[in-house]
C-alpha cells in the first residue's frame, strides 16, 4: 500500500490522511491537557505540603472544632522535639471602615509567637516579624481558661485588602461577626502582610490576622466577653525540630504522642498527606486517561476506517502484489507502518496542540483556570507514554485493515 494512493484520488487520499492525523491529534491533545494541568496542580500542592513550615497537623474543622486550644498548645509544646505549635481559627467575618462596610474578609486567629515558626519558605518575608499584635503569647486576654484579661485589639491586614479599602497602619478597622455594625469592635491596624503567590483562587486575598482569643470572642457569643466563649480553633499546626523532621520514626513518635493528647481529633503528618495527595493524583491521572480513552477510541476508530478505506482503494494494487507472490506479512507490514506513521504524526501533533492549548489558557483565560494552566507541567515520560499508547492502539487499527487486505480474493481484485 502506498501513502498517497493512485494519482486520480490523490486529493481524496490526502484529505483522508489529514483527517486521520487530525482525529488522532485531537484524541491525544485532550489527555495531554488534562494530565499536564492536573499533574501541575498536584505537583504544586505537593510542593506546598513539602515546604510547609510545620510537619504535623491536628484538625477538627469548624468554629468549635478543637476545644481548649490554648492549653492543648501548651501541652504539645512540652513534647520533646516539638519546636512550635500554632492553633489557627479561620472564620469569615465582616469588617467596617470609619464610615463604610460591611466588607467580608477571612479572619485568622493565631498565637503570634507560635504562628511565625510554622510558616513555610513560600511565606517567608510576607509577614512582619515579630507579628505586631501586642500580646505575643495571647495570654493576657485569655488567661487561666477565661477571657477576663484585656484584649490587645490589634489586627494586621493583607496587602490586597489594604489596597482595596485604602487601609493604612494606625487606622481603626471594625470587626464583627455579622453585617450589624453595632456588634463590631474597633481594632488598630498594626501592620500589613503579603499574600503568597500562586494561589489557585482569591481565598485569603482579603484577610486579617489577629490574636486567637480576640477572634474566639468575635465568633463566639458577641462582643461581650464572657467565660462561656469556647476556646476553639480548627487546626493546630505543629513544627518539629530539624532532627525529628529528618527522622521518620521520630516524627511518627511525636505524631503518636500528639494523637494520645487529642484522641478524638485527626492527627496527620504532612508526609502522610503528601503520600495521600500523590495517590489521589495518581487516581485523578487514571481518571483523566479513562475519560480521554473515549476520544482515543473515536480517533483510532477513525484511523481504522481510513486505513480500511485505503485498503479498499488499493484493492487492485494489493491484489497485484499478492498475485506476484509478495508474502502477506510484507503487505501487512506496509499497512502497519502506515498506521504507525499516521498515529505517530497524530500523536506528535496532539502533544504540540495540547501544549499550545495549555499555553493559550495560561495566557488568555481568567481566574482559577488560568492559574491552573500556569501550573501545568509537561513530563516527557508521560507524554511519551501517551504517544506510545496511541501507537500501540494504532496496531489494533492496522490489524483490522490488514485482515481486510489479506482477505481480498486475488482473482477478484484483478478482474
Amino acid at each position: 500500500m502506498t501513502l498517497f494512493g493512485r494519482r486520480g484520488s490523490l486529493r481524496h487520499a490526502r484529505l483522508q490522511l489529514v483527517l486521520a492525523v487530525a482525529a488522532v491529534g485531537v484524541a491525544v491533545a485532550l489527555p495531554v491537557v488534562l494530565v499536564s494541568v492536573g499533574g501541575g496542580v498536584s505537583a504544586h500542592e505537593l510542593h506546598d505540603l513539602e515546604n510547609a513550615g510545620y510537619q504535623i497537623v491536628v484538625s477538627a474543622p469548624g468554629l468549635h472544632g478543637i476545644a481548649d486550644s490554648h492549653s492543648l498548645t501548651e501541652r504539645m509544646l512540652s513534647i520533646s522535639g516539638v519546636s512550635a505549635a500554632s492553633p489557627v481559627l479561620s472564620a469569615g467575618i465582616d469588617t467596617f471602615g470609619a464610615s463604610g462596610g460591611p466588607t467580608a474578609a477571612l479572619a485568622e486567629g493565631v498565637i503570634p509567637a507560635e504562628f511565625l515558626p510554622t510558616l513555610g519558605p513560600s511565606e517567608n518575608g510576607l509577614f512582619p516579624s515579630p507579628l505586631p499584635l501586642g500580646d505575643p503569647m495571647d495570654l493576657v486576654h485569655f488567661a487561666n481558661g477565661t477571657y477576663q484579661g484585656h484584649a490587645t485589639l490589634d489586627v494586621i491586614v493583607s496587602s490586597p485588602f489594604a489596597a482595596a479599602q485604602n487601609l493604612e497602619t494606625g487606622q481603626t478597622l471594625y470587626l464583627g461577626p455579622s453585617a450589624n455594625r453595632s456588634q463590631a469592635v474597633g481594632y488598630t491596624i498594626t501592620g500589613i502582610f503579603g499574600v503568597p503567590p500562586n494561589l489557585l483562587g482569591p481565598i485569603g486575598a482579603f484577610a486579617v490576622v489577629l490574636p486567637l482569643s480576640d477572634l474566639q470572642v468575635i465568633t463566639g457569643y458577641g462582643p461581650a466577653a464572657t467565660a462561656v466563649v469556647p476556646d476553639a480553633s480548627d487546626t493546630i499546626e505543629v513544627a518539629v525540630a530539624g532532627s525529628v523532621s529528618a527522622d521518620p520514626s521520630a516524627l511518627s513518635s511525636v505524631e503518636a504522642q500528639i494523637q494520645r493528647l487529642v484522641p478524638y481529633y485527626g492527627v496527620s503528618s504532612l508526609n502522610q498527606e503528601a503520600t495521600e495527595l500523590q495517590q489521589a493524583s495518581g487516581v485523578l491521572t487514571g481518571f483523566y486517561l479513562a475519560l480521554s480513552s473515549v476520544g482515543l477510541t473515536i480517533g483510532l476508530l477513525f484511523l481504522a476506517l481510513v486505513l480500511l478505506r485505503r485498503v479498499e482503494a488499493d484493492r487492485r494494487s494489493i491484489g497485484i502484489r499478492r498475485a506476484l507472490g509478495v508474502p502477506g506479512r510484507q503487505i501487512a507490514g506496509g499497512i502497519v507502518a502506515e498506521g504507525l506513521f499516521l498515529a505517530a504524526l497524530g500523536g506528535v501533533a496532539g502533544v504540540v496542540a495540547g501544549y499550545l492549548i495549555v499555553e493559550a489558557i495560561a495566557t488568555f483565560a481568567t481566574s482559577t483556570v488560568q492559574e491552573a494552566a500556569q501550573l501545568a507541567i509537561f513530563v516527557p515520560a508521560t507524554l511519551a507514554a501517551i504517544v506510545g499508547g496511541v501507537l500501540a492502539l494504532s496496531l489494533l487499527a492496522s490489524a483490522i485493515a490488514t485482515r481486510a487486505a489479506l482477505r481480498i480474493e486475488i482473482t477478484e481484485a484483478l478482474r
Binding site: R321, G325, P327, Q330
Partner: protein
C-alpha cells in the same frame, strides 16, 4: 542471456474442477474435470471463446486460485491445495505472470515495478537494481527506468510487465491475453519478446489467447469450451 534460473516444473492437472457460487441455480462451473500434463520447457497456447475457463485454468496453474476438486501437481507434488502462504511462496519463486492489462503499480517507476518481486524475495538492493536494469534493457526499455506507468505507452507497459515476470528467474511463465490491449505492431513485438525469453531460459510458457494468430506461435495448442478441454494438439 544466460543465467541461473528456477527449473521449470512438470505440471499435471488431474480431474480438476473449479466451481464458483453456492450450489444451486447460481452455481458457475468454470472448469469441469480437467486432465492435463505440461512437460518442462514447452510453449502451450490455450484458446477458446470468452467464458470457456481459460483464465480460470491459468489462475490454477499460477496457484492464484485453488481447485474445488482434483489436483494440481508440480513435479508430482500436490501444490494446488496448499495454504495461500505456501502457494504465494511457490508463486514468488517459480512463476512469472503477465496480465492482459499489464497491472503495473502506478506509484512505482518501471524499475521499481521490476524490482517488486525481488524485494519480496529479499534480494539485496544492489543486486535488485542491477538485475532490474538488465531486464529493462533486455526488453528494450533501457533509459526508461525512471518512467512511471502513466508515462509509458501500452507496449512499453507490457514490456515492463514481461521484465517484472522474469525478475525472479521463474521456470514457468504464464501470460493471460498479453497482447489483448495492444496494437498489432506492439502485439508482434511482445510475442517475439516472449518467445525469445522463453527460448533463452528454456522456460515453460503457457499463453492464453482467443486470437488464432497469437496461438499459432505455440508448439502445442489447447482449445477449451464450456470448462472442458476440447482439443490438445502438438504443432509444428
Amino acid at each position: 542471456m544466460s543465467e541461473s534460473r528456477v527449473r521449470p516444473p512438470g505440471i499435471e492437472l488431474a480431474g480438476v474442477t473449479r466451481t464458483y457460487g453456492e450450489r444451486g441455480p447460481d452455481e458457475v462451473r468454470a472448469l469441469r474435470g480437467i486432465d492435463l500434463g505440461i512437460p518442462p520447457g514447452t510453449f502451450v497456447s490455450v484458446e477458446g471463446p470468452s467464458g470457456c475457463g481459460k483464465t480460470t485454468l491459468l489462475n490454477l496453474l499460477a496457484l492464484l486460485d485453488a481447485p474445488t476438486s482434483g489436483e494440481v501437481r508440480w513435479d508430482g507434488r500436490t501444490v494446488g491445495t496448499r495454504s495461500e502462504r505456501e502457494r504465494a511462496r511457490l508463486r514468488l519463486a517459480g512463476v512469472g505472470f503477465i496480465f492482459q492489462r499489464f497491472y503495473l503499480l502506478p506509484t512505482l517507476t518501471a524499475r521499481e515495478n521490476v524490482e517488486l518481486p525481488m524485494r519480496a524475495l529479499r534480494t539485496a538492493r544492489a543486486e535488485r537494481a542491477r538485475r532490474a536494469s538488465e531486464l529493462l534493457a533486455e526488453v528494450g526499455l533501457g533509459g526508461r527506468e525512471r518512467a512511471y506507468p502513466h508515462q509509458l505507452s501500452g507496449g512499453e507497459e507490457q514490456r515492463v510487465a514481461v521484465a517484472r515476470a522474469l525478475a525472479n528467474r521463474p521456470g514457468l511463465l504464464l501470460a493471460d491475453e498479453p497482447t489483448g490491449e495492444l496494437d498489432s505492431t506492439n502485439a508482434l513485438a511482445i510475442l517475439d519478446l516472449l518467445e525469445r525469453v522463453r527460448r533463452d531460459r528454456d522456460a515453460t510458457l503457457v499463453l492464453v489467447t482467443h486470437n488464432p494468430a497469437v496461438a499459432a506461435r505455440a508448439r502445442r495448442h489447447i482449445t477449451m469450451a464450456d470448462g472442458r478441454i476440447t482439443s490438445d494438439v502438438a504443432g509444428a
